[in-house]
């Protein structure tokens, strides 16, 4: 039993409504911050793709394998989203 059915009071409904509205604002601000991080992220991705070809990619625990150049994925044309 994860939850027990019950009726919500008007005060609880009002509290939830306010919190949901504030969460939308918080979400939008996270999306904007993450969009602004795009240039740094592109650099981090380029470094990652380089590292997995030289040092390797983690497969399990301390097991790693080197990725060959032809395995490196090509960036799609769509927008690079990290927040969904």
């Amino acid at each position: 039993m994860k939850s027990i059915p019950h009726k919500r009071s008007r005060e609880v409904e009002a509290w939830l409504k306010r919190e949901i509205a504030e969460q939308k604002v918080r979400y939008n601000s996270i999306v904007a911050e993450q969009d602004a991080l795009a240039p740094k992220r592109d650099k981090w991705v380029a470094e990652f793709l380089e590292r997995i070809q030289t040092r390797g990619v983690h497969v399990h625990f301390n097991m790693m394998r080197k990725v060959s150049p032809e395995e490196i994925p090509v960036r799609p044309k769509r927008k690079f989203r990290v927040v969904f």
Binding site: M1, K2, S3, I4, P5, H6, R8, S9, E11, V12, W15, L16, E19, I20, E22, Q23, R26, Y27, I30, Q34, L37, K40, R41, W44, V45, F48, L49, R51, I52, R55, G56, V57, H58, V59, H60, F61, N62, M64, V67, P73, R75, P76, R78, F80, R81, V82, V83, F84
Partner: protein
């Protein structure tokens, strides 16, 4: 919709507010970390004022409380930093007080925060599932024990494991100079709060002390790094499997498709059976059927996978 993707969010950037939900005593403050708009389930950082007192009582939702600083007293026992409680819905917790104040993390997993004064359990409560442990003093670090596993240097203490959903709550640490060069996603939602320390992820940058995320399933995260070490509390809503890869640009739909394809190859017979009409409403003989249990949406072979029953009124015998 379920909870949105909140990542990253640093609660040090916002102030505590008075917690004014009906039923709760005065003296509790909170910062909302994430909230499910449908059922009100939420995760909050909370602060109990010095002198806070709460009578014995229960919640309509399962909840978890982790003490980060200060202490609380439940009954006659004092619980300091690292104390963890998993309180099933309807289980009455003894009188709670905090003479010098405390801060903690409070998770209401299946409904909005609620408090009903009571010194006895609700008839539907499952007291046997109550957990109280001190994660700092009573438990030792172990490796993650999943396959494929995170890189060496990520250690866990499992505080709670749900037998039915395989959801779990865990303290975890990353050792100084931890690094893991791959990208991961899971079939479960995952949330975590940094009690201390900063770690880095290729998508989101640094997550410092007070940093939090709620990440729905199939969202890429990693590569990972941590220079000085991190202590954090994590939680999943179901079984965690590390789907590792190295394509930074895949999206949720592609990741989900890949996960489904993997299930098809790992468990071909079960996959085929589930997809056969009439068999996609499975019943676990270990647990009450969803109709009675009421916590799991299910379907009747018609593709309405979020189907759930309202409680039925029984007819009185004439």
């Amino acid at each position: 919709m379920a909870r949105p993707h909140i990542e990253p969010f640093v609660d040090r950037d916002v102030q505590f507010r008075k917690f004014t939900m009906p039923g709760f005593p005065k003296g509790m403050h909170y910062k909302m970390l994430s909230l499910d708009p449908d059922n009100g389930a939420c995760t909050m950082t909370v602060m109990f004022e010095p002198g806070y007192k709460q009578p014995p009582g229960m919640s309509y939702s399962e909840y978890e409380l982790f003490i980060m600083t200060g202490s609380i007293t439940v009954g006659d026992k004092v619980h300091g930093p690292g104390s963890y409680f998993m309180v099933p819905a309807g289980v009455a917790l003894g009188a709670l007080s905090s003479s010098r104040g405390a801060t903690g993390l409070l998770y209401y997993n299946y409904g909005e925060p609620s408090f009903v004064e009571s010194d006895s359990d609700h008839p539907r409560a499952e007291r046997s599932k109550f957990v109280a442990v001190n994660a700092y003093d009573d438990m030792q670090w172990t490796s993650t024990n999943v396959f494929p596993a995170t890189a060496p240097g990520c250690l866990v203490k499992v505080l709670h494991f749900d037998e039915r959903t395989q959801a779990f709550t865990f303290l975890y640490c990353m050792t100084p100079n931890f690094w893991q060069d791959n990208i991961s996603y899971h079939d479960c939602a995952e949330e975590a709060y940094h009690i201390w320390g900063t770690s880095w992820m290729m998508q989101f940058g640094d997550l410092p002390t007070g940093g939090y995320f709620y990440r729905p399933p199939y969202i890429n995260h990693g590569a990972f790094g941590c220079k000085l070490g991190t202590l954090a509390l994590g939680r999943t809503d179901s079984r965690l499997y590390n789907h590792f890869h190295f394509n930074p640009w895949t999206n949720v739909e592609e990741n989900r498709e890949r996960a489904a394809s993997r299930i098809q190859h790992w468990m071909p017979d079960l996959y085929k059976w589930i997809n056969t009409h009439g068999h996609n409403h499975p019943v676990d003989f270990d647990f009450p059927h969803g109709h009675e249990h009421g916590d799991m949406p299910h379907h009747h072979g018609d593709g309405q996978v979020e189907h759930a029953h309202k409680s039925r009124r029984r007819r009185r015998k004439k």
